[in-house]
Structures are given as C-alpha cells and as structure tokens.
C-alpha cells in the first residue's frame, strides 16, 4: 500500500491531535463551590472552559478520531502496490512491418519484461500487450501486424510507456525502459523530443533486425506517353533508400499485362492518368500513412473506380477518396485521381515529392531507412534508471475507488457521531 499524497496523513495526524485536545479542553460546567461572596463574581456564561486530565466522551472521541483519520487517508490517495521486484521493466516492442522476426522480438520482449513488467507493442499506435506467455504474446504480435504500418512511431510508444510505468511503479524502486525496434528513419516525429524528455531516465535500446525492404531504394518504371512527364522530377528527388520494391507508374489506362505484372510479390502498379486541367481554386489532398503527406495546390479531381476491397490511400480535404489501392496477388494496384495543373512548379516542390513518395511506397507501406546512430544515442540518453516514485506520483489519473470508500466510511462515522451526540445530550 502506498500513498500518492502522504502529506495528507500528516495533516490528519495534526487534526486528530486537535480533536484530542478539544476533548481535553471542554466547555463544561465547572465543579460547584459554595462561596458567600458569589454575587461579586461578574455575570458571564455559565459554561466555562475547563481542562480535563483525561478525555471525556470516549465513544465520541473514538468516532471523531476515526472519521478524521479516514478522511486524511482518503485525501492521501492510497493505492495498492503492484507485485514485482524492486526494478521493473517496461519494454517498448516495435510490432510494425519493419521488424524482420516479430515472433522472436516478442519472445525477447517477454524475457526482458520479467515479473511485474509491461510490454507495449507499438507501430503507429501503441498499446500494452498481455504477459500471459511468450506464445500468446508472439501470436498476438504476429496477428496484429499482418498488413500493419511499415514502421513504428516512438511518440505513442513513450506515451504508453509512461502510462504503464505509472501502473507498475508503485512498490518498485526504479523503472527500466527497453526499446526493441529496428529504429527506422521516421520513427521520430515532432512530439517525440518532448515525450522522450518526459521519461525521467535512460532508455536501453536493442535494435532488431529490420525487414529487408527497408534497406534498398525503389525502382520505378515509368510508362508514360509524355515526352516530358512532370512527375519525373519528383521521382528523381525521392530519397535514396525507400524500399527495395518495384514500382510501375502508368500514366494512361492500365493494361492486362500491367495487372499481371503487379501480381508478383513486392510490386506496385501506380495508375495515375496524365490528365491536365486548369483548376480554378486550390485543393487539398493528403496521402495517408504513418507520416501524412499533405499537398495544397490547384489540383483537379479525376474520377477513380471505387470497388469492394479497395483501400483509400489518399483523400481530398473533404474526405473524398483521391487515391485507392487494390490488392493484386502479392502486389497491389493503386489508382490516383489527382489532376495536376498545366503550368507551375508544383511538381518541383517538396510537398509534391512527399506525396509521390507516399504513393510509391510498398504495398504494406513506407518503411524507411535505418535511423542514424546520433539519433539512437539521443533516444537512449544517459543517467540512471527512472525513479519509480516520480512516475507513480505522476499517476494522478490512475485513482482507485479506495479513497471514495474511505470517505464514505468517514461520513458514516460522522452520522453515527451525530446520533451518539444527540442521545448523550438528551
């Protein structure tokens, strides 16, 4: 049992002492004294303060003391300590598609977590996984990541780590945070530095073996009737390492041979008709994925064939589909309904490059290159393990119902005290 606000216990002790003192200093009728000159005593309240050698009304005193102590205990916010060793481990397990052997990673996470620890699986979201057994954990991880995001994001992982730490920290001395991830580039976003700084200790990192397609660069085959396709500069500007998969960009209607080509594993057929219009206003479109790629420009909406099983991979600002993906064998076919402007330098800008990058990502999503060692060292940090007390005290939201029960008991005692007081007064 621990108290999140132990100072309330001190206040309760002071209040209890005051109650005892009040019972010693009762305003009661002093003992009578026959005094012939009593007429010269000033007229005042007949009940004078007297100091008793021992408390009177022991039952009332007991009830009041119990009520005060229960209220103090309730405000001290008692919580039950979690079972486990003095040092407990929170494991952040990357369960995204960037991990080569997720079952082995799950087993390792279970091994590291030990008794009283927690395992948090994360990709673009994070949640705590059960620790019942290695097999169940591995199965859960494997099942959850089928077709999931291509790379993990550290921000939700740190948030979940903090929550889990607050739950298991009570009764422990310190907390150890272990990160199991290939740490692909893009795992860090704008919120990650602040969230990392919120963890009061170092992070032990074990880099997992990344999936093979995170190491090479995409090979894009462009089939276009245009002599000078405006998308070409964007393709040229793609980062060097963006997956070792094949991409065929078709700027006209897809043929049967194109569809057959896309059925091979790791292939992406991107159908993006080369229709240029003169839009009158700017439109916003965003490619969905772990890192959204928004694009605001004078774009035109082209019709796209929606069908069952199609997955929207880009949407207009009004949520209308802008690009869809259909699974074809071991590969996929993507159809883009975004018409580019006739003039301008839109295709030379970075947002357009990011938009294209999202569209040519592997069918399971963009995975990314390995994170630089400097970033890894920054994430790991230095110093001791995180103190359990700070993390447990931070768990203000993790309140139990015990304080409410204590308050209810205190109110009950006060009601009984009122009845006893009325009965004794009668």
């Amino acid at each position: 049992m621990s108290f999140l606000a132990p100072l309330a216990l001190a206040f309760g002790a002071v209040a209890a002492a005051a109650v005892v003192a009040l019972h010693l200093l009762t305003t009661r009728r002093p003992p009578p004294l026959l005094l012939p000159t009593a007429r010269f005593v000033p007229v005042s309240e007949a009940r004078a303060v007297a100091r008793a050698s021992r408390p009177t009304d022991l039952l009332l005193l007991l009830l009041r003391l119990l009520a005060v102590l229960l209220v103090a205990a309730a405000f001290a916010r008692p919580v039950r300590d979690a079972v486990g060793p003095r040092v407990r481990t929170v494991v952040l397990l990357d369960v995204s598609a960037s991990v080569a052997d997720r079952a082995a990673a799950a087993a390792r996470a279970r091994e590291l977590s030990g008794v009283g620890g927690a395992v948090i699986g994360f990709d673009t979201a994070a949640r705590e996984w059960p620790l019942d057994s290695v097999a169940s954990l591995a199965a859960a991880v494997t099942a959850s990541t089928t077709g999931g995001p291509a790379r993990g994001a550290l921000s939700p992982a740190f948030v979940a780590a903090r929550t889990a730490a607050a739950r298991i920290a009570r009764g422990a001395d310190s907390l150890r945070l272990v990160l199991l991830s290939p740490l692909a580039e893009g795992a860090v976003d704008a919120a990650t530095p602040a969230l990392r700084a919120g963890w009061p200790g170092r992070v032990e990192i074990e880099r997992l073996v990344a999936a093979p397609d995170t190491a090479g660069a995409p090979r894009v085959q462009v089939v276009t009737p245009l002599d000078d396709d405006p998308i070409a500069p964007a393709l040229d500007r793609l980062p060097a390492a963006r997956g070792a998969h094949l991409v065929r960009l078709v700027r006209a209607a897809a043929t049967a041979s194109d569809s057959a080509w896309a059925r091979a594993p790791g292939r992406v057929l991107l159908v993006w008709p080369a229709r240029f219009t003169q839009p009158v206003a700017a439109e916003g479109v965003s490619a969905l994925g772990p890192t959204p790629a928004p694009l605001v420009a004078p774009l035109a909406r082209l019709p796209i064939p929606l069908s069952d099983g199609a997955t929207v991979i880009a949407r207009w600002s009004d949520a209308a589909p802008a690009a869809i993906q259909v699974t074809a064998g071991a590969g996929c076919i993507r159809t883009v309904g975004v018409g580019l402007p006739l003039a301008g330098d839109l295709t030379l800008r970075a947002p357009f490059t990011h938009f294209v990058e999202a569209l040519v990502a592997p069918c399971a999503g963009i995975r990314g290159a390995a994170m630089p060692d400097s970033s890894v060292r920054w994430i790991a940090g230095t110093g001791p393990l995180a103190g359990a007390r700070a993390l447990a005290a931070d768990a203000a939201h993790d309140a139990t119902t015990l304080p409410a029960w204590l308050l209810a008991a205190a109110l009950t005692l006060l009601a009984v005290e009122l009845l006893v007081r009325r009965r004794s007064a009668a």
Partner: protein, 296 residues
C-alpha cells in the same frame, strides 16, 4: 466557669478592659464613666444647691464659711449593657468546617469574638446578652450580670447552627446601650446600617465587626461555579477571566461598607478569620485615642 473550648481564649484576654467610647447614661454603678455626677468620695466640683437636691449632699463646712449652700459633686460611674447580635446566616458557615476541628471560619470566629468580648464586658460588671439570628429563628439571651452568663452565651452560640438568611436590622432596636453586631454584611446591610445609625443617635454605642474569610479574599485557583449558599440561583463561573473583576468588586464593597458605617458613627472593624481572636479582641476594645496613638 465551664466555657469549654474557649478557656484558652478567655485566659488570653483576662484583664483586658473595654471602656465605653463616651460617657454612659447614669445608672447602676459600674466601670464606665457616667454623664451624671454622683456622690463618690472623689471630689469633682461644687454646684449651688437647688431645691430638690438631697440635703445630705450639702457641704456644711463650706456653708459655714461662706453662708451659701453648695452641693459637692463627684464623677459618677455606671454600667454599660452590652448586647451581641450574631449573624448565623448560611453565609457565615464559610469555609465550611465539616469535620468540626478547624478553628478558622467566619462562624467560629464570630463565636470566639462574642465570648471573649462578653467575658471582658462581664468583667467590668456590665450586663451582657446575645441575640443569634439563624434559619431556626432568633435565640435571645437577655443581658445579665450574674455569674455564669458567659457560659450561657457560649452554650447559646454552640447550640445555634448557621443557615438561612435572617435579617439583623430588626434586632438592633431591642439591644442594650452597646450593640455589637458580628456579621459578614452579606445580608440586609443597608437596613442594618440604618438601624445602627438610629441606635447611635439614641445615645448607644454601635459596633460592627465585619467578618471576612480569607477564602473569600483569595478563592481557590481551580475553575469553579461559585454558588451563593443563601441564594442557589446565584451561580457564576469563577475562572481566570473573572477572578480579577471579582476581587475588585469585593474590595469595593468592603470599602463602601466601611465608609458608610463610619460615616454614621458606627465603630467598624474588618476582621479576618485567619487572625488570632485575642489579637482581634485587643484591637476592638482599644479606645479611639489609643487607636490614634497607635496609628501615630
């Protein structure tokens, strides 16, 4: 003389005289200087013979020398009847002597002073009597000069038990020329003052012995609910906050009683119960001139 526990006190005051404060009216021969001239051997003065004078008091030798008749006068002495009016109200039973062994207390002091003063007055051949006013009524012992009257007074006082709150003022009118009131002045003090003033105006002597217990001056320090034994409805908390005001009020009351009594010609004495009775007796019987001399 069977006077019980008062023997030591009577021995201590033996030989003490209690002269009258001023010449007493004529009467039976006694120890007090009388306002009349008598036929005592001591010569005082001559007065021309007037019709009706006793011819035996004519100084015949002077008549022979001067051929005029003169009466030979001498200072006369008379007795002074003394009545003790003793307040036996409930307030006099303080501090209450439940065991009956403590010599202190207002009632005990009143009895001792009465007996000692009665013995002194009786030693001067004065008739002495006592009036005791208590809840049981008024016990009266008429002034007498016979032997054993002091013992009778002692028995009368011992038989009385303090209680109630009988008024003292009506008893003054029936007292002797010297009226000695022993009271704590917590009863009908205003009426008593008026009665003593009237007694004084009639030519009598009025003495008031104001009895005060030390416990009244310095009540117990512990907080208590002070209750008047003569008035149960008078209950007031005597605590730290009221103690000082009580002392001030009580002192003012005593000063006011002393001032008004003395202004009406009453011989006033404030006596404390922790003072030896023989000391108080000598202080009470001291003549006014001796008092002034002692004060100087």
């Amino acid at each position: 003389m069977p006077v019980g526990p008062y023997g030591a006190l009577l021995d201590a005051v033996r030989g003490v005289r209690w002269p009258a404060r001023r010449p007493v009216p004529g009467g039976a021969p006694g120890a007090h200087q009388s306002r009349t001239r008598g036929v005592a051997p001591e010569f005082a003065e001559y007065r021309p013979y007037r019709q009706g004078d006793d011819p035996r008091r004519i100084d015949w030798k002077l008549l022979g020398r001067s051929d005029r008749a003169f009466i030979r006068l001498a200072p006369d002495h008379a007795i002074l009847g003394t009545t003790f009016v003793v307040d036996a109200s409930a307030s006099m039973d303080f501090p209450r002597d439940s065991a009956g062994t403590a010599p202190a207390g207002k009632w005990s002091l009143a009895k001792r002073l009465t007996i000692a003063l009665a013995a002194i007055a009786h030693g001067s051949a004065d008739p002495v009597g006592v009036i005791v006013a208590s809840a049981a009524g008024v016990r009266r012992l008429e002034p007498r000069t016979r032997r054993g009257v002091v013992a009778e007074i002692a028995r009368t006082l011992d038989a009385a038990a303090p209680g109630g709150s009988a008024p003292l003022a009506p008893l003054i009118a029936s007292s002797s020329a010297r009226c000695v009131v022993l009271t704590d002045c917590l009863g009908d003090v205003d009426a008593l003052r008026a009665a003593l003033a009237r007694h004084r105006a009639r030519g009598g002597e009025s003495h008031l012995l104001h009895l005060i217990a030390r416990a009244e001056l310095e009540p117990p320090a512990a907080p208590a609910m002070a209750t008047d034994p003569e008035d149960a409805s008078c209950e007031r908390p005597l605590v730290e906050a009221t103690r000082e005001e009580y002392a001030i009020r009580f002192a003012a009351f005593r000063a006011e009683v002393a001032r008004t009594m003395r202004a009406d010609g009453v011989t006033y004495h404030e006596v404390l119960d922790d003072t030896a009775p023989e000391v108080l007796v000598r202080r009470i019987v001291r003549p006014p001139g001796a008092l002034a001399e002692a004060a100087r």
